[in-house]
């Protein structure tokens, strides 16, 4: 009997030891608590739509805290419609706060600061964006100020020259930054000189030095059209106040004579117009930029493509993507490497950028090519897909009112409708490995540009048109 008990104890002990060992070995330190995706589900933002009689309805989200942020995205009013006047929008951006309506420059700065209004007006490649963040009690006043700046800016001649010189100085300095040079090189590889997205630092310097107040006013008169406006508001302010405030603003914009820039048809085909280029810069670091074809964000294939891009190298998945994991973590070739899906109106593509020391450029290019080729050929695993889905569930996009409004404006820009928002993430959660692997086939490096000391000797010429 004792023998039986002893044997039982021994066997039980061995089995326990095996179980403990197996747990640690197989779990590889896996947390004993990993929540289900449903527990991580993003908070439903509950967007309301407010109709104020223009083309696009206002999106509004309520928040408890006494702040409010809004964006006005003026569609199609970006740099691409000013290709013949490069740098003009930059000049308008700098000059627009030099007084408006009854406020001179000093007074305008004072009222903005005294009312804790944070206001930014910028011009991207496709759209103009007004972004404002303030306390709830200053919302109406902020709208009033925005209306004055967008319709009655002074553009004082004595300040314009100073702004021109400042822009030229900045552009000249940018010629010594490898990232800017690489971006310029890429523009020259992808676009002909008359393409709306083409840019040249030297051309812009020359153009800016010649602009007059008349040119600025001409450009300004084409901007901020009511029917181009996509308005998003997040904060503690009532719908009635929002409706009333923006109705006044949009009426002000309607009453000014504006042109309505047309929307365009997007291309998804990245074509090279010139051979891949290198810009020499005497610097210990070289920027390497890769370009790959992509899928438009309003395409049904977008979600699978985006998931694939997350696995390959997007910044949102830094610690879990292939490029970072191999090129930086294993090989130690660079401090950072990320892909970025650029979904512009005229062209969609994905770029990958890394900076490395001169002697490592060739190794870096090889490593990236190897990773992308393997990705294209083999796709992703079901484990990777599961992890990325969890990551998307965990990601907290919307912190402040300002973060939330920027996030929503970005979704709108991609063509997402308000009614789709609550189910938007389901488009990612539904994906299968097959869906994503089909999208992974699209990832192919079409061109590589470099800026720095090291020349890219692995230029790809096959795709030149």
């Amino acid at each position: 009997m004792i023998e039986v008990i002893m044997k039982f104890i021994v066997v039980a002990g061995v089995i326990s030891a095996v179980c403990v060992f197996a747990y640690f070995y197989l779990s590889n330190g896996k947390s004993s608590f990993e929540p289900k995706e449903t527990e991580l589900a993003q908070i439903d933002l509950q967007v309301q739509e407010i109709d104020i009689g223009v083309k696009n309805k206002i999106w509004k989200v309520n928040r408890e805290i006494n702040t409010v942020a809004f964006t006005i995205v003026f569609k199609n009013e970006g740099a691409r419609n000013f290709r013949n006047t490069p740098g003009l929008l930059k000049l308008i951006e700098k000059s627009i706060f030099d007084g408006a309506a009854e406020y001179d420059a000093n007074k305008l700065a004072e009222v903005i600061i005294d009312n804790n209004i944070s206001l930014n007006i910028s011009f991207g490649i496709d759209n103009a964006v007004v972004k404002c963040y303030t306390t709830s009690d200053k919302f109406e006043f902020a709208l009033e100020i925005v209306g004055k700046i967008l319709t009655k800016a002074h553009f004082k001649p004595q300040k314009i020259d100073l702004h021109k010189q400042e822009i030229i100085a900045e552009l000249r300095q940018s010629k010594f930054e490898s990232d800017t040079l690489a971006a310029e090189c890429l523009s020259h590889v992808l676009y002909q000189k008359n393409h709306p997205y083409y840019f040249s630092i030297d051309e812009t310097i020359k153009a800016v030095s010649g602009y007059s107040r008349f040119d600025i006013e001409q450009g300004y008169s084409k901007l901020f059209t009511a029917n181009n406006a996509e308005i998003t508001v997040v904060g503690n302010v009532s719908n009635d106040v929002v409706k009333k405030g923006f109705a006044i603003l949009l009426q002000l914009l309607e009453s000014s004579k504006r042109n309505n820039f047309a929307a365009v048809v997007q291309s998804t085909n990245v074509k090279l117009t010139h051979a891949p280029q290198h810009a020499y810069l005497d610097s210990p670091q070289t920027t390497v930029m890769f370009v790959m074809p992509a899928v438009a964000s309003n395409s049904k294939d977008y979600f699978a493509y985006k998931m694939a891009e997350l696995v390959l190298g997007d910044a949102a998945s830094t610690f879990g993507n292939r490029l970072f994991g191999y090129v930086r973590e294993v090989l130690g070739l660079c401090y950072g490497i990320w892909t970025q899906h650029k979904d512009n109106d005229l062209l969609t593509m994905t770029t990958c950028v890394a900076r490395t020391s001169t002697e490592n450029v060739e190794k870096l290019i090889n490593a990236v090519q190897h990773t992308v080729e393997k990705f294209q050929k083999n796709g992703i695993t079901s484990k990777e897909l599961k992890e990325m889905k969890t990551m998307l569930s965990s990601h907290v996009a919307c912190e402040s009112a300002l973060d939330t409004v920027v996030y929503l404006a970005g979704l709108r820009n991609r063509g997402v409708q308000a009614f789709e928002l609550s189910k938007y993430m389901d488009n990612f959660y539904r994906l299968t490995v097959n869906d994503v692997n089909k999208a992974a086939k699209k990832f192919e490096i079409l061109a590589i540009v470099t800026a720095g000391k090291a020349r890219n000797d692995k230029a790809l010429h096959d795709n030149v048109v």
């Binding site: 805290i65 973590e329 130690g332 070739l333």
Partner: protein, 453 residues
Amino acid sequence: MKSRKGIFSTATAAISMLGVHANIQMHVEKLDNGLTIVILPTKTKGIMQFAIVYLVGSSYDDQNVIGISHFLEHMMFKGTIKLSAIALNKLLNKYTSEVNAFTSEDITVFYCKINPIVLPIILRIEADRMQNLKLDESEVKSERDVVADERNMRFDASAQTRYIFDACLSSLFLQSNYRTSVIGLPAHIANFDRNKLLEHYQKYYAPDNAIIVISGDISDCESVVKEVKKYFGKIKKRCGEKPERPVDPPKTGIRHFIDHTSPQLATKQLSIVYTFSRKNIDTLRRLMMAKIVVQALCGNRRSVLYKKFVDGEQKLYSIHGMLDIKEIDKIIFYIEAIIHNELNRKDVETQIYVAVDRFITNDFTEDLFNKVKSEIVRSITFLHDNPSALLFNAIEHIVLGYEKDFANIAEITDSITYEETLQYAKSILSSKHRTHVFYSHPEEKAKQSRQAR
């Protein structure tokens, strides 16, 4: 393990004159092993910002391995004895947003944004990292290359920072490690090895040298404290006393001028530097006075120097001020300007000195003071809308020793008077504190600049 409540503070004062309710809720506890827990609940739903702050930065690094604190920060992502680098990074990738870390001269911070439900995972990871860092030899070797590359990228790649940054620092500080950049010099980076890392880690990555700060969607502070205690409560203290860091003697009457030229510089950048004793900002009240002075002098478009030199006389493209407050040693106040390319640096510099002197005798009016003070108090409202901003603000103030007052920052700032601020401005902006000038400019003006000096 029992916890002793250290300081519990909740500010409830409303700033009635502005009609803005600006109190910060803050709950602080200290465990028996020395770990401090700071909790900052806000009304933002579904979001938590987490940070663990180790009170060690490059100012504690040994002389021949300056940058080791920063390097150790990198190695904290390379896995523990229990969790491989891949597994660790996968967990961070899966459950966090904006996960990152940074090292300064005084602290190293690991932070992330999370859904509150995953707090236990993060606590478990951080408790593991605090005790069981692996420091694999091959990882040390490969990460050394990454750090060397980072140094290249941050300092050496750009003509605007190459050499000048290191030169400026070494002129600002004589004895302390503040005189070298946080990342270290190339010779230091080459010296990093596993043994030195392990020694540094074992000394400084301890609960009695750490603060956990959590802000965001927290309905019950006690249960968060309980959760932290579950993972950290049993870790033994081991940091103990930290080595004393040398402090420079006061520098009076010595002026440094650093002239930097390069064919890769297209703009004229001037930095006028005031240095004064840390004792000038020894309370939160004085810190806020300093911020009011800097803001009024050169903080934004409303400031005195901006109005005069950018808007008015158009001698500068831009001007702004920056306060650099180290934990010990001196305070550095930079006035940074980009000078119009056609103008002479010496002339503009002299005019700025005159303008600063006039600021403290004439232009810093009570009206301006009230406006700037109001601006700063109102800006605190935005912290309630942004758990990250609140967290990093709190860290800054806690590390400087203002933990007790941080919750009342709006009230304290609002109580500051014009008279005391004016006196304060006169003391810190005195010409005797004007100790350094750094000037970077295009190469062709080098001869003219040296003559003008």
